[in-house]
Symmetry: C2
């Protein structure tokens, strides 16, 4: 069952790129570019899914799931994404933390509702 907002992932192991960010003021091109990244990423080899939330304080977390390290490198090097990364550093984010992690196990709930 696929739930709105959740990534439908296979059994572990797979990889998670955890991107926590605090938005800066301004950067009016952010929304359109962010939307475009969400369109392009699923076309990349090894893409599994993405989950994202941002609060009204501008602090957000996006977790993108990939099959392996090679697919993460492929997405990092994708041309439109590279341009977005540069814009992000220059204008969109006050600060970010990006972590690459290997998912070892996974659970979901609530069951039976």
């Amino acid at each position: 069952m696929s739930q709105s907002g959740f990534a439908a992932a296979p059994k572990p192991p797979y990889y998670a790129v955890i991107f926590a960010s605090q938005r800066a003021d301004g950067g009016q091109d952010y929304g359109a570019t962010a939307d475009r990244m969400v369109e392009i990423a699923p076309t990349m080899p090894g893409f599994i899914g993405v989950e994202s939330a941002r609060g009204v304080d501008g602090f957000g977390i996006t977790v993108c799931y990939w099959q392996d390290e090679a697919s993460i490198r492929g997405w990092k090097a994708q041309a439109d994404h590279r341009a977005a990364q540069e814009r992000g550093k220059a204008a969109w984010y006050q600060h970010y933390e990006l972590r690459v992690a290997r998912v070892e196990r996974a659970y979901s709930g609530p069951e039976g509702r």
Copy 2:
């Protein structure tokens, strides 16, 4: 430098528990319990930090960082947290996905702002 909202983590490897959830309607005790969990977790052995965001649509992601698998098990078994887990399944969440991952590498930015 510690930034508001971000977890100040040591060099990898360490562990991330990625909790993505869609809130259900109701559950008026959610806020107080969530606040209490955020107070208790940092007192547990192996706690590193926590990052959390929830959008106005009720979809949220909380990532809690721990030194090792033993500290994750310790927090999972903590009494107040176990009670909160049961309430979460019964009342607070339409659905959640919980993933345990080993952080392999980390980056931050923007540099020099």
